[in-house]
């Protein structure tokens, strides 16, 4: 669990992953996840890449194009994240007011 947190612990990582249901360009990610600064977005993507969760593909075009997608390993995470989301939205009434 401690190690798992190391891999997924970044404040934004699960959010990034759950948005990568399909391949996205860097600009798309930056736009959609505009709460995340470009710097941090780059950092987190790099770490996710290192951990084998995200695949980065750069196309030698002009202007440059870079696409991020989930690896198979990363994709295996999606159903779990959905459960987490479902769990959270099923909060008991006593605490739902958040």
């Amino acid at each position: 669990m401690t190690r798992t947190m190391g891999v997924l612990g970044g404040k934004w990582k699960l959010i990034i992953i759950s948005y990568l249901t399909q391949p996205r360009r860097f600009g798309q990610l930056a736009q959609r996840l505009s709460l995340i600064s470009r710097k941090v977005l780059t950092e987190q993507l790099r770490e996710l890449e290192e951990d084998g969760i995200v695949h980065r593909e750069a196309f030698a075009e002009a202007p440059p194009r870079v696409e991020y997608s989930l690896t198979e390993y990363g994709r295996a995470l999606l159903p779990i994240l959905e459960q987490l989301s479902a769990w959270h939205s099923a909060a008991p009434a006593a605490v739902a007011g958040q």
Copy 2:
């Protein structure tokens, strides 16, 4: 997802939760999770309590005894955490060296 992270985001929360498979006294938690300082342990437990995940029961004894356990809502998280753990230990060989 962002909100879910707000609830579970603390560096230690998932670890605490996954150790609360049964009721535990504060001292037990502090001992077993000795990487966590007592201060932070208290804080995280309080937050988990506020979010309806953990139940705190103090007994009016001397010396004082306080037991922490998961609420039903919190217990619903356990199977998901197990999946997360399983996912992580199923890392592909290329990145398993961590």
